[in-house]
């Protein structure tokens, strides 16, 4: 059984009583020791998906439909107090800006000890010992437990954040743009660390990023989001090499590479829609070079096209990419 099962998740924000369709019908599963890369342009609903799972949405955000099963338990129906107990114990999250994720006036070790004691109980000394062990594991000097956040560099903070995320033995780690603010060299060290720890603890990882190159190198499964919809889902190789959705194909083609011959970079004319009034039919149709009449009329279903490879496109599997223009 998968550790995380998200089914037909719909999360909307409300501005007045007007909904923002931030996440609209998203389904995926993540197994132990599996990394699902959730990718897409900014504003497509990645963070909202993450916050929906932990139910830490802002006050105007609401899960309107669907279920989120963690270890078989539906989180959507839990009370806030039950949810509070589940957070960090079963699933933790790594935020993008590590610098801001720790309280600047409290010692880093103290902040991790606090959550361990809250979740696992036990003495402060025991928790501090755990933290020292975790520091070692993520490549930080245990002697720096008593440092304040501003005394750490960006990479060190990200390591401390990972140590904190692991501190209560979760099954699932959600990483929302965990390395976006870092330079590539440090970025890779952090990603390697995450991979290593994932294997060691059999973790399920939901890896959120806008950078498809990072997804390609770090994820076993890939989901591509656009305007609140999940457009394509499958193994990394199949999504990258046998893309089913025109958006996936174009987006991958927009990423430059430092290897191989220089190819023509793709781009997608136009801009993503306003999620307060998404276009009718397929949300991508106004920018899609393959759009037909049906695309502006009917919302395509999210369907399994080949084994474990899903797409939300009327013509999934029928399009020949690369020949246009």
């Amino acid at each position: 059984m998968a550790i995380l099962e998200v089914e037909n998740l719909k999360t909307h924000y409300y501005i007045g009583d007007k909904p923002v369709y931030a996440v609209d019908d998203v389904s995926f599963t993540i197994d132990r020791n599996e990394t699902l890369g959730l990718a897409g342009e900014s504003g497509c609903g990645k963070t909202t998906t993450a916050y929906s799972i932990l139910r830490i949405l802002p006050a105007n955000g609401k899960i309107v439909e669907g279920s989120v099963k963690l270890d078989g338990e539906d989180l959507v129906t839990k009370s806030m107090e039950e949810m509070r107990k589940i957070r960090w114990k079963k699933a933790s999250i790594v935020f993008q800006y590590a610098m801001n994720a720790f309280n600047p006036v409290l010692r880093i070790g103290r902040q991790i000890v606090e959550v361990i004691q809250e979740k696992e109980g036990g003495s402060e000394q025991a928790a501090a010992l755990t933290v020292a062990g975790l520091f070692e594991e993520v490549g930080l000097e245990p002697s720096r437990i008593d440092d304040y956040p501003h005394e750490f560099s960006g990479g060190m903070l990200q390591r401390a954040i990972i140590a904190q995320a692991l501190s209560c033995d979760p099954r699932l780690i959600i990483a929302d743009e965990p390395v976006t603010a870092l330079d590539v060299i440090v970025q890779n060290k952090i990603l390697d660390l995450l991979r290593k720890l994932q294997a060691k603890y059999n973790l399920a990882v939901l890896f959120i990023t806008h950078d498809l190159s990072v997804v390609a190198e770090n994820c076993t499964q890939v989901g591509i989001m656009y305007a609140g919809n999940l457009m394509e889902l499958g193994s990394a190789t199949s999504v990258f090499k046998e893309s089913l959705h025109p958006y996936t194909y174009k987006l991958i083609g927009a990423f430059p590479s430092v290897t191989g011959p220089k190819r023509r970079l793709e781009f997608i004319p136009g801009t993503p829609p306003n999620l307060m009034k998404p276009p009718p039919g397929c949300t991508f149709h106004p920018r899609c070079p393959y759009a037909q009449d049906i695309c502006s009329k009917e919302l395509p279903k999210f369907e399994e096209i080949s084994n474990g490879h899903y797409a939300r496109c009327h013509f999934a599997g029928q399009l020949e990419f690369g020949g246009e223009e």
Binding site: I56, N103, Y148
Partner: protein
Amino acid sequence: MALRTTVGTRRYIVNRVVQTLIIWFLIVTLNFIIFRIMPGDPRASIIEQGMPPELRQAIVERFGLDKTLLEQYVLYIVALFQGDMGFSFSHFTEPVWETIFGFRFTNTFVLMGASMLVAIIIGMVMGVVAAARRGSKIDTGSTVVFLVAYSMPVFWIGLLILLYLGFNFGLIPLAGTITRGVEHANFIEYAADYLHHMIGPWIVLTLSFIGGFYLIMRDSVLDVFTQDYILAAEAKGLKERTILYGHAMRNAMLPMISVIAVNMPFLISGATMTEFVFSWSGLGLLTYDSVLAADYPVLQGVFLFLATITVISNFIADMLYLRLDPRITY
């Protein structure tokens, strides 16, 4: 938590001490100058028409008013360091030091301390609670109540309290710090009587202080709530209490400290009205009386005292910052 005593920090503290002393000295000088260039001849208040010239001369010499300004200044500084701030014109030539730091200072200190302490605690806690329940009945209710208390004139609340609690119901005495003509058997009895007298002014001052502290705290907690580490704390599944009091309140206290420090003299001088209404014989009442009596030495002393409090409280605020905000290193 100890102060981080890096070399830089130690140097910063020394610098700050030196700075504080220099500023204080400038204020002392200013204090001297201001009272020399003020209108009105101080001699007029003690020298009366028809006094014999010898007596006039004696008084002028007695107060050093025949010397040059520079001589007066030097004498003033030297005397100041001996705790000598001259003699009061109006209090039967009592030393100013005595006038200020005798019972009056104690009266003000006890009253201010008690109301400040309660106002800060209630204001802070209510500020945090209101911010945590933004838009709720508690929030709206307490904001309205504290805003009203904050903006009502002190003498008005004072009079209302005197009228109802004192006059109508006889719950509190009408004036003074102690019941006159009563021999107290022991200290406990004395203290009880004193505190009984303090209830009125204490309520008034506390009410007038809370509003400010409450609003600042509420505002800065709301500001802290928008920070990522609060969302992170929530994601960690910490208890709401822990998030509020362990994280949000601590960070929100920083702006509070500087506001309190800067406002210290206003808080103290703000007590004037209250002391007047309740005839609470403290520094506020003294200031009021001294202005009427053109008692320059006393006014000078009070002014100096307030300035000193300001400088010191700013210094303490900086040291507290250094202690509470680890990002500050020098």
